[in-house]
């Protein structure tokens, strides 16, 4: 079983192929390059050098958010195009799950992926032994730290933080969080497609089992011949990012600032 993983939710652009629990290849760039220019050339080069063929993949797993809205759409639209043309399913992997779940399987500390959501907010979750202990969401940073403090009643007193929220919030975390804190090093602290592909592979395997499918039977049917989607595995038509936030215009509209929203959008449009 081969899964292509795509990650472009933050500053890193990354692609990987995982085959039967083995990471066959990964290409990650985190140097302020434009994802739209780099993502597909990275997939091409990665396949060329490793001798892998994206066309042999059974599904495409993509980091669907939260993250930069534009970055998410580049990754998701790339995954949609590949899945549509190859006629294979897409796997919708949460960016927070991909950063938190694999790491939480190799430690008994609570793993806390935190992303900078601006305005004092973080997109965050928390995981213990592979399971979720704080659900994914957009939190005020102090609310989130409060929730983590509450978790220590269960006995766990160690926290590992990963994600681009670390440089932004580490001071506040050190000040307010009562347990033992460590911040992951560069090999763990950013989004990577290997994590997306591996988590996607596990979701895909569960889905195949639950529906008595094999990769061969799936190939024969094609993604369009399948009706029993679920568990994050879907037809690529249905694949969309998980933004966790409405657009500014929608928020303003709900607050009754409709006229301003219209004028604002027209100004933006004119800028183009």
């Amino acid at each position: 079983m081969k899964i292509l993983g795509i990650e472009s939710s933050g500053l890193t652009a990354s692609a990987a192929i995982v085959e039967d629990g083995i990471l066959k290849c990964e290409f990650t760039v985190n140097n302020k390059l434009t994802h739209s220019e780099t993502l597909l050339p990275m997939i091409r080069e990665m396949c060329r050098i490793s001798g892998m063929d994206a066309a042999d993949c059974d599904a495409v797993a993509v980091s669907c958010g939260p993250g930069s809205f534009t970055g998410l759409r580049i990754g998701v639209a790339t995954a949609k195009g590949l899945a549509l043309a190859y006629n294979i399913p897409a796997i919708r992997v949460s960016t927070l799950d991909a950063m938190g779940v694999p790491l939480s399987r190799i430690t008994h500390s609570i793993v806390c992926p935190i992303m900078d959501a601006r305005r004092g907010q973080t997109y965050a979750a928390a995981y213990l032994d592979g399971g979720s202990v704080v659900k994914r969401g957009a939190y005020d940073i102090y609310d989130y730290i409060g929730i983590l403090n509450g978790l220590m009643e269960d006995g766990t007193k160690e926290f590992i933080f990963v994600g681009d929220g670390v440089p932004v919030f580490s001071g506040m975390i050190r000040e307010k969080l009562e347990g033992k804190i460590c911040f992951a090093g560069p090999e763990y602290n950013r989004q990577r497609a290997a994590q997306v592909a591996e988590l996607g592979a596990l979701m895909f395997k569960d889905w195949l089992l639950a529906n008595e499918l094999t990769t061969d039977s799936l190939r024969a049917l094609g993604a369009d011949g399948i009706k029993c989607y679920g568990g994050g595995v879907m037809n690529s038509d249905e694949l969309v990012p998980e933004y966790m936030r409405k657009s500014q215009a929608e928020r303003e509209n709900e607050m009754g600032l409709l006229e301003d929203a219209g004028e604002h959008s027209l100004k933006k449009l004119r800028a183009h």
């Binding site: 739209s36 994206a54 790339t78 590949l82 190859y86 509209n253 027209l266 933006k268 183009h272």
Partner: protein, 346 residues
Amino acid sequence: MAENLTDKKDIYVLGIESSCDETAAAVVKNGREVLSNVISSQIDIHTVYGGVVPEIASRLHCENINGVIRLALENAGMGFEDVDVIAVTKGPGLVGALLVGVSEAKAIAYALNKPLVGVNHIRGHIAANYITHKDLEPPYVCLVVSGGHTHLIVVRDYGSFELIGRTHDDAAGETFDKVARAVGLGYPGGPKIDKAAAGGDPKAMEFPRGEVKDHPYDFTFSGLKSAVLNHINQMKMKGETIRVEDLAASFEASVTDSLVSRTLRCARENGLNTVAMAGGVSANSALRKAMQDECDKAGLRCLYPEPVYCTDNAAMIASAGYYDFLSGRWDDESLNAVPDLKLSAD
């Protein structure tokens, strides 16, 4: 890839467009024959906000794009294997919106191992005329008028364009939107003004025809917009009611005069006997009539696309992509969206 394709008799281009608020895909044969043309419009959603909201547009493109492409192939009776070239709008437009189409198109071209062509949206609008007028060939004058663009262009050849005039402030279509909003007609302004103007007197009010000093072919609509808004305010202050039909007709007459006079002069001075129009505003009935009348008087051929090819669509992108492909203007997987893409850029 190239050698095989240039020997091929017929070339089928899958076009993809997502530069503003329409998600569209189409299959076009040899640049002229439309086999399918699917457009998913977001206009009802943006109407709530009085204009296109870029983030909402980008999100909707992402939701709809696969279904739109699928339907375009289905309506053409084709599979991906039958497609020869993938063409996609690379700009100008809203960057977030463009990126959805560009990312999707690159992935499809890579997966199918087919050539990819990034198309200039303005050149796409011009190419819409090749779909409606099978015998049209360069050279000719083309006036591109839409919500985002007002360009007067001499099309020397399929891949050779000379920008003669452009707007210094608002695009023509944008002015329609703003005036429509001011008189309470709502969004989108073009069709609503056009409808109201049909029952009005174009000579009821005298609005200015904007001139740009030292740039005889350029357009300016900000003075006109201010004059209309001032007129509305004055009438309000006097407590008089405005006859919206007359205001719409008089406003439309001013825009039409500016557009038609420059286009005709451009044709005359360049010795060209064909005038084409393109873009959403070219569906405006007063503009069509005025351009046709003036061309008839001057003995020029006046062309415009069918209404469905005036507004944003992917058939025009496939057509322009076909001619770009023939001239060897291909792109690789590093193709990016270019929100401020210039007409002359390759």
